[in-house]
């Protein structure tokens, strides 16, 4: 018997049992859809974070006290503003060194309040990071030196506390202290539902007094070219370690951050898809189960086909194709559902879901493999049935 013929017979059998076929496919549909969606979410998260890190600017080196590790609490900082000059000498240009000290504070105008990240920074931030001011100006060296109470607002902070009023030149209260708004940042949007425009920059000197500290959290250095990043990284750390003997410092590059994020999200995606793969496996077992039932139910049919000249491999092929069809059709529906849901998720939820081109291909391949793997046992059983015994079955 030709494969096309076996295909037609298998299709007829599936069509004859529509409801059962649909229910059997459901397991595969859910499994495949889950794989596609979860991979899309993991993939989208990775891209989003990568875009964000890359969007910071280029050739940036972040210098922080202690060992740099994701998830570990930041070490107690001994860095001070004086280190800007130290690192400035290492880079050869003080303007390439930005500082930060951050705290969550209430920002208010009259009765309108918003909670935002308040960053104490120096005037070099625009030299290091790609963070453009939409209106007004960024703070200057003089603002920092004279501890002037001026603020540059993120676009959502400006909108939340000022509404439609132009904030430039107006007073805003940060942690109960009045600051004058001198600029508003360009909108950057949100990542994973976290608003990245909920931010306020004030001079680091003013921030230290506001937060009651004399340290800084960390520094950021912009290397002149990409080739300078690696050597500079080492020199920055050794300069700090020479000054603070016995202390540890880390200088991480964007590439390293991207690598770490990639690994973490890659692992996350892997774990999620492994969980989804389990449901695919369960779906496969369901297919196998139904095929076994089907073989038993159709014992007489198998006996008859054999009596009329079907060889064992014709019967095997027929049942194998049935199992594979269930899985492949289920897989295709699952892919459709998965891609559709991914689009829906990225449209209505903060999770960025980007369907990886390889995940539907993989899901399809896996569902076909599941069909073959779980179809073989029932199909072999069908193929081996003795026609006489099968025909005698009631």
């Amino acid at each position: 018997m030709k494969v096309t013929e076996a295909f037609r017979v298998a299709l007829d059998a599936l069509r004859a049992n529509r409801l059962r076929s649909a229910l059997t496919m459901l397991g595969v549909i859910i499994g495949v859809a889950a794989v596609v969606i979860l991979v899309a979410i993991g993939n989208g998260a990775k891209r989003e974070v990568e875009a964000q890190v890359e969007g910071l600017g280029s050739n940036i080196i972040i210098v922080v006290p202690g060992k740099f590790e994701f998830g570990s609490a930041p070490s107690v900082s001994r860095l001070t503003l004086a280190d800007v000059d130290l690192l400035g000498r290492v880079v050869g240009d003080r303007r390439r060194v930005a500082v930060t000290i951050a705290s969550g504070e209430t920002v208010s105008v009259g009765s309108r309040k918003v909670f935002a990240t308040v960053n104490g920074v120096n005037e070099n931030v625009p030299n290091v990071f790609d963070r453009a001011v939409a209106r007004g100006e960024y703070l200057t060296g003089t603002d920092v030196d004279t501890r002037r109470r001026v603020a540059v607002l993120g676009s959502s902070v400006a909108r939340d506390v000022f509404g439609d009023v132009d904030p430039l030149g107006r007073q805003v209260s940060i942690a109960g202290v009045r600051f004058r708004v001198i600029g508003v940042f360009v909108r950057v949007g949100s990542t994973f539902g976290v608003d990245r425009d909920s931010e306020v920059h004030i001079p680091v000197t003013a921030a230290q007094r506001l937060f009651g500290v004399d340290r800084i959290d960390g520094l950021a250095v912009k290397a002149p070219t990409a080739d300078d990043v690696e050597p500079l990284q080492k020199r920055l750390v050794s300069a700090l370690q020479d000054k603070y003997t016995g202390e540890e410092f880390s200088a991480v590059t964007q590439t390293q951050i991207l690598g770490t994020i990639g690994r973490i999200l890659g692992l996350l995606t892997l774990v999620l898809s492994a969980i989804a793969a389990i449901s695919l496996l369960v779906g496969g077992v369901g297919v196998s189960n139904i095929m076994l039932v089907s073989v038993r139910e159709r014992t007489r049919e198998i006996g008859l086909r054999k009596a009329l000249g079907a060889r064992s491999r014709d019967i095997l092929l027929q049942f194998l194709i049935e199992a594979v069809l269930l899985c492949v059709v289920g897989g295709l529906i699952g892919i459709g559902l998965g891609v559709g849901s991914s689009l829906l998720v990225s449209a209505v939820s903060p999770l960025p879901a980007v369907v990886a081109w390889w995940s539907p291909a993989l899901a399809f391949g896996v569902s076909a493999a599941v069909g073959i793997f779980f179809g073989v046992a029932p199909a072999r059983r069908a193929g081996r049935l003795d026609p006489v015994v099968a025909l005698r079955t009631e």
């Binding site: 086909r305 054999k306 009596a307 000249g309 064992s312």
Partner: protein, 242 residues
């Protein structure tokens, strides 16, 4: 064309059931020639069906040899046996054995599917076979939409669509009323006389056995008696009242 279509030489068939051997056939020698019309009769459990399954190459003998068209089936693989069965044997079963969700036409076409005949030709030949059994107007009907007699005629059409040399029928009228049974018997008789198909039918009904030209009496897995009509008797036996 003459010469043996199927030949059984001292064939036995035993089954093992819970460690005990059941001897369904205990040394049967039988030769069926081209164009024979033969009835296998005997009480229930005597081994008639077992013998028929062996003659139809659905099963292999435990001992002895079985020759189909001169070839010993023991030398054939299961696949070759299936092919040989497909080309030389037509089966009719007591319980019709039609595929329930399949039209009469597609049921009849089934043996041709396993012969690799193209779809268009399959349909044409199946329609012709259905016409030959008087069911030209029932091509698209499913078994459940047909009477018992019609179903058995579909089964006969399926048995003859591949132009077999031997048609094996196991109690073909067992599930039919007397009128339908008579129709089926007439049909089998015509196939034998007009097409020269050797017909072997299993029955325990003496009046049906009487229509055959030769009767094999089986008892306890052995041939007890093998009586053939003399050529002159053939017509009178066939005309015997049902």
């Amino acid at each position: 064309m003459t010469g043996p279509a199927v030949e059984a030489r001292d064939v036995s068939r035993s089954y093992r059931l819970d460690g005990v051997s059941v001897h369904a056939l205990r040394g049967v020698t039988l030769r069926i020639d081209q164009g024979d019309y033969l009835a296998i009769v005997g009480p229930s459990g005597s081994g008639k069906s077992t013998l028929m399954h062996l003659l139809g190459c659905l099963d292999r003998p435990s001992a002895g040899s079985l020759l189909l068209g001169g070839r010993d089936v023991a030398a054939l693989t299961d696949g070759e046996l299936a092919q040989l069965r497909n080309q030389t044997i037509g089966f009719v079963f007591q319980s019709f054995q039609l595929l329930s969700r399949t039209s009469a036409l597609d049921n009849v076409a089934l043996p041709l599917v396993y012969r690799g005949v193209r779809r268009a030709e399959r349909r044409a030949r199946s329609a012709a076979a259905l016409a030959a059994v008087g069911l030209a107007h029932r091509l698209g009907h499913r078994p459940s939409q047909l009477s018992g007699g019609e179903q058995q005629r579909v089964a006969i059409a399926r048995a003859l669509v591949g132009d077999p040399r031997v048609l094996l029928a196991d109690e073909p009228t067992g599930n039919l009323d007397s009128q339908s049974g008579a129709d089926v018997m007439d049909l089998l008789g015509r196939l034998n006389s007009e097409r020269g198909v050797a017909v072997v039918l299993v029955t325990h009904d003496p009046s049906i056995a009487a229509r055959a030209r030769r009767r094999i009496h089986v008892r306890d897995g052995l041939i007890e008696r093998d009586d053939a009509d003399t050529p002159g008797d053939a017509t009178s036996a066939a005309d015997a009242p049902a």
